[in-house]
């Protein structure tokens, strides 16, 4: 029940010190002053509590009352999350707009999920069943893409005493009654509350084995991420972090996508919102917003809520994971989150370490990334969370604290390169600095579903790229003309690979997505072209003659000439290369 927890003693920006505190616990949620600004207890000392406030504290005075309900900051979980757009502490921005107009006012109190809306619940259990914690009771068709499983709270178990029949229920109607071990009767609703800073429990962790297919060639083929993995995407401004994030949110084959815009541009969120309502999922032909939850805490919104937004997002991700879905969480950008942490830490007068970041930055990062993974849920469903986190290193320097600490907790690294971005080579993922440790986990998927030579071709191409990198050093000094023909062939093949394969236009309707099949065929064609040309050079044919072949044009323009419906002709390209070189061979 709500009560007065104390009085404001001091206000410094988003941090408020409270005196006369006796009953507050760490991380309890409080409401400050007449506007009832939401905050969270960060430190307790004597009868004082330090609170970080999630809204602008202008006009808060010493002596203002502070209220508490006695729980920690939580999110509401239930049908209606998908397609919604929330701020960092899960207030629905669309509802706020209807109430407040185009600016976000302060102290707006709205519930995260619509209480009026009725959902069609289909029970899947019968009274008398003994239910372990987290069991599924039934389903609701949340959007045309996602069946929302109504589960018991992770700490509730017992005998099902009553369950509602198939009908429409609001979130406030009880759908079941469970008798717990100690004989209490507990009502079950379709709405759960879960504290954001606590990971939801599961039965066990599972080995990662499936790749997250993103349709982006440089990612899927060279630096793939497994479903349940963690990727960091670091890059200076203008290197295309956000476009990579948007492309993945649009095209990756996760079933549920949670997009956290953390301290980034307002217009970018608008872009995402407007686009996702229009764009259709290539696999299901439904609007992408039906599988997406947006969390927008733009750079000019309160900094403390930015700190919370990442946790709000991951808690929702865990909820859908527990239903057995593969969830992808895009966090753009974790550096802004770390900066929020730094700002709050400074206001709490904590001891700073490198660049002013607090000493607990690495442990907070670790906690966050460990919430990714593939698990068997309490209800014995397999689900996963993949985290794709962008990092905005200051001055593009990857040795700064956020990037270097992040590298310790992720296994896949897509380094965005300034020179590539300057040449408008997008996605500007560097093939030299990036890596993926998931290759071994996912190679069987490629070998079983696409082609058994996938991994060896990938390594061959990576090897050529490394060679090319070394040759370029020589070229920079003496020019390409002095190199022998075989080495110039390596340069040529890498040039083709970079321009046709790695470079991918996000805004071209053909090029924006390449299926795994097309990616493999393109890779194979380029490797075949390399092998055939190598053979020709040994027979005395020159590189210029090879480039004069009509089929060469076909190779360098294959990404646009062959659409997804035309993969059979792409598959025949290797044979056509072999055919057309015959004229050069004698």
């Amino acid at each position: 029940m709500e009560k007065v927890a104390g009085k404001v003693y001091r206000v410094v920006g988003p941090v408020v010190e409270i005196e006369g505190v006796s009953s507050l616990r760490m991380l309890d949620m409080v409401e400050v002053g007449g506007y009832r600004l939401v905050g969270e207890v960060m430190r307790l000392k004597g009868d004082r509590a330090f609170v970080q406030v999630y809204e602008d504290t202008t006009s808060v005075k010493a002596g203002d009352p502070v209220y508490t309900q006695g729980f920690p900051l939580y999110v509401e979980l239930g049908p209606g999350l998908l397609g919604n757009i929330y701020d960092g502490i899960q207030r629905p921005l669309e509802v706020i707009r209807q109430k407040e107009g185009f600016y976000i006012g302060r102290g707006v109190s709205v519930s995260a999920l619509d209480r009026q809306r009725r959902w069609h619940f289909v029970p899947s259990r019968a009274p008398g069943e003994e239910l372990p914690a987290g069991s599924c009771l039934g389903e609701v068709q949340e959007t045309s893409l996602i069946r929302h499983r109504i589960m018991l709270m992770p700490e509730t178990s017992g005998k099902l005493v009553w369950i509602g029949g198939e009908a429409d229920y609001s979130l406030e109607d009880k759908v079941a009654v469970v008798e717990t071990k100690d004989g209490r009767q507990e009502d079950v609703f379709m709405l759960q509350r879960w504290p954001v800073r606590k990971a939801r429990p599961y039965l066990e962790r599972l080995k990662l084995k499936d790749p997250l297919i993103t349709g982006q060639r440089v990612i899927d083929t060279l630096f793939p991420v497994a479903k349940g993995g963690c990727v960091a995407v670091p890059g200076g401004f203008g290197t295309g972090k956000t476009v990579v994030q948007h492309q993945l949110a649009k095209w990756s084959d996760a079933e549920v996508v949670i997009f956290v815009g953390c301290g980034e541009r307002g217009n970018e969120m608008t872009d995402v919102l407007m686009n996702f309502a229009k764009l259709v999922d290539p696999r299901t032909q439904k609007p992408l917003s039906e599988r997406t939850i947006f969390i927008a805490n733009t750079s000019n919104m309160p900094v403390a809520a930015r700190e919370a937004s990442i946790y709000t997002g991951i808690t929702m991700a865990e909820y859908y994971r527990d239903m057995g879905y593969n969830v992808a969480l895009m966090a753009d950008s974790t550096s802004r989150w770390a900066e929020a942490l730094r700002e709050l830490s400074g206001r709490l007068e904590e001891m700073p370490l490198e660049e002013g970041f607090p000493a607990y930055l690495p442990s907070r990062l670790a906690e966050f990334y460990e919430r990714a993974g593939k698990v068997r849920s309490l209800d014995k469903k397999e689900g996963s969370i993949t985290i794709i986190a962008s990092v905005s290193p200051q001055g593009g320097d990857f040795s700064e604290p956020v990037t270097s600490h992040t590298k310790r907790f992720i296994r896949c690294f897509w380094a965005l390169d300034r020179d590539l971005a300057n040449a408008r080579h997008y996605p500007s993922i560097s093939w030299i600095d990036s890596y993926s440790e998931y290759l071994d986990d996912i190679k069987d998927w490629w070998h079983d579903n696409i082609d058994e030579n996938w991994l060896s071709l990938r390594y061959l191409m990576m090897d050529l790229l490394q060679k090319e990198q070394r040759l370029q050093q020589v070229v920079k000094l003496v020019g390409p003309d002095v190199l022998p023909q075989t080495q110039r062939l390596v340069l040529e093949v890498c040039h083709i690979f970079k321009n046709t394969f790695l470079q991918q236009a996000a805004f071209d309707k053909v090029d924006t997505y390449s299926s795994a099949k097309k990616q493999f065929l393109m890779l194979k064609t380029i490797v075949d072209f390399y092998h055939v040309s190598e053979g020709l050079l040994q027979k005395g044919v020159t590189l210029a003659e090879i480039k004069g072949l009509g089929v060469y044009q076909d190779v360098i323009r294959m990404k646009l000439r062959y659409t997804e419906d035309d993969l059979d002709s792409l598959a025949g390209l290797s044979a056509r290369i072999a055919d057309s070189v015959k004229e050069l061979e004698f």
Binding site: N267, G356, N422
Partner: protein, 460 residues
Amino acid sequence: MGQQYALREYVGLEEIVGPIFLIRNTHNVGYNEVVEIADESGNIRTGVTLEVGKGYAVVEVLGGTSGLSLNNSRIRFKEKPLMLAVSEEMLGRVFDGRGNPLDGMPKPAADEMLDVNGLAINPTARDYPKNIIETGISAIDVMNTLVRGQKLPIFSGSGMPHDLIATQIARQARVKNESFCVVFAAMGVKYDTARFFLKSFEDSGVLERVTMFLSLADSPSIERITTPRLALSCAEYLAFRKKMHVLVIMTDMSNYCEALRELSTIRGEIPARKGYPGYLYSDLASLYERAGMIKGVDGSITQLPILTMPNDDITHPIPDLTGYITEGQIVLEREMFSRGIYPPIAGLPSLSRLMKDNIGEGLTREDHPAVASQLFSCYAKVKDIRALAAIIGEEELSPLDKLYLQFGESFERRFLSQKYDERRTLEEGLSIGWEVLSLLPKEELLRIREEHIEKYYVRK
């Protein structure tokens, strides 16, 4: 709150450090609210509370603290945040960094009072910036298109012609309709610079549609922190209440950041990089994010902040953090400047993030996106080849590389270069783009669709 009861007046301060003072035994003082300070001779200054606690308040004085004494200062807490009286009459007027008229005329009558700190625009209420602004400068229109509602800073260095470019844009980007206006904020710039802007607005006959807020180099540095906020509040009023298309020019953001650093140091805060406070990003965002458009409202705010990069270093925290917030940047290059190229807009590091959705078929011209991308890509190659030529000599280059050098030269002299008063249409810009691209063989133009090459490639 209203003025239902007389405001309490306090006499005497505890401590003054730089632009900040501490006062004890206060009651009911709100955070971030306005304070009026009367000095010994009765002159009133304005301040804002930086920190409030039980029985004390810390106040920053916008006009500076020179002449304030501990014993004889009288303080009133106004119980409201810093407000600006706004009205359409502000067009054509000049104000100082605190919003007082500098042109000798009386204060304009207030239509509305706005909190200068502004409020965050709800992301669901924003409209995605659309409609390109033709600036008449090809380097911008073709390669880094400016869009209405965008924030596109100019990254410059001391001595480079950023002011010239800003005024050229303000003059040429003038939309035909009546509802166009300019809000100009000067932070810590010299009188000459302010004079230059004033003169150039006068010459192009737009002065009656310009509001200026000038906090010049000799004003107290603390004032620079409020100046852009006043300008943006005025811009928001004109854009979202009066439905105008507002171009906000803010110069020089580096001076603003330095004032912020000064204040932060005096407050004893923990610094992040190069002594700048950890919240520099959020603080800059609270200014830049006030650009944009709103669904169902006709006006727009387009921002053109100017900053001089200390030592031409783009990784310095000021340009770095700005680049992370703004939607691209126009970077001026000293090398081109020294070679006499105007505008010296560096090809490669410049970027407009919003152009992708606003150009191309049905918007500008079908080949526009690909041409822009191809120009960037070829010019990047030119830079590599120039580096190579510096080592092995131009003679040793392959014929293709020599063509690239020709392309590079022509790109800089034909395409980038134009006169201060030359207004090139986008169409003209694109044809010059094709003219220079056609110096290269067709096979090199891999970014462009084949049918567009057929249509636009210039045969010799």
